[in-house]
Symmetry: C2
Subunit: 196 residues, 2 copies
């Protein structure tokens, strides 16, 4: 009896999912925003890029904030043919010179704009873009325009805390990563190969 009830319940769940799948027939480039203060936003974006590459798609990453460490994903993904642009002399927690940062943000954004016009790129990650908008290094209207006019089948992933409301409104899928707890707050060090 228990097994039958379980089966009936699961079937009902499955029917609901199947109905939704039948209804969802449109294909288009998705704008995915991963925001919020929790751990896992950029990592999720890099995972999506890994997935795209695994399917033989062409992908590119523009990183708007660069730490002092080398990021492990970059090694793997560049090896798999992913194009990387990293904001050069620009914003890190170590510099913080408004004029230089703005110039560097603009330069990285121009690389992004070129990708956002290139139909051959299936999936673009704009890592930590949200901060460039929050700090007024980039105008939100310029960002929205490039996103809006991109090739219709091109997927874009935007990551970073406190994503601008207008980008969230334009997005197709938005996940907010909320921190429930973090090892760092318990005195545990960020560790290579896991945290970066």
């Amino acid at each position: 009896m228990k097994a039958e009830r379980h089966k009936a319940r699961q079937q009902k769940l499955k029917d609901g999912v199947d109905a939704k799948i039948a209804k969802a027939q449109e294909e288009k480039g998705i704008l995915l925003v991963l925001t919020g203060n929790g751990k896992g936003k950029s990592t999720s974006g890099f995972g999506t890029i890994a997935r795209a590459v695994g399917h033989g798609k062409k992908a590119a990453v523009v990183q708007f904030i660069k730490g002092n460490w080398e990021c492990g994903e970059r090694t793997l993904l560049e090896g798999a043919g992913v194009e990387f642009h990293v904001m050069g002399t620009g914003f890190t927690w170590e510099t913080q010179d408004r004029e230089k940062d703005t110039a560097a943000a603009l330069e990285a954004w121009e690389a992004a704009e070129t990708l956002l016009k290139d139909e051959s790129i299936d999936c673009i990650m704009l890592d930590e873009l949200t901060y460039m908008v929050s700090y007024h290094y980039l105008e939100v209207d310029r960002v929205l325009e490039a996103l809006m006019n991109r090739p219709p089948m091109q997927h874009v992933i935007v990551t970073g805390r406190a994503c601008h409301r207008s980008i969230i409104e334009m997005a197709d899928t938005v996940s907010e990563v909320k921190p429930i707890k973090h090892a760092f707050d318990a005195g545990i060090k960020a560790q290579p190969g896991f945290d970066y």
Copy 2:
């Protein structure tokens, strides 16, 4: 003046972060839980595995739910030397036979237990494990015991909705991925190379 105020504010932020970094000196294997109903949990886990591999670490994945499609990350990560165990004849939305599913869950869990005793594995992803506990296919105590007794430097990532409270309590870092909106609900199809 504006630039100076900005600099002072950023310096204060940086000082706070630096103080936290100085305090966080412990190194240990992290138990990371990625839960919640939003898009990006497994993808984030796969991103962490990509990162580990990019740093030359040894990583493994046990997938407790397998869709009918091939997952793009698997191609890339297996190519980079990541060991994959996929729950065999077991739970998918297509089957739902309680007895068979339980047997398959146990078999996959035994593979996980072997990995959780293997010091040579730096990072393990237990993808969609939470459902096996929710559906009572696996006893939570058995899961907790294996997690607790694993090699002290081994990182583990658990993904899936509605993670059991006891696993959250044991975890070092927990992120809840909340859906703000999802393209699927707007009638847009799941697309290969992006959604799977």
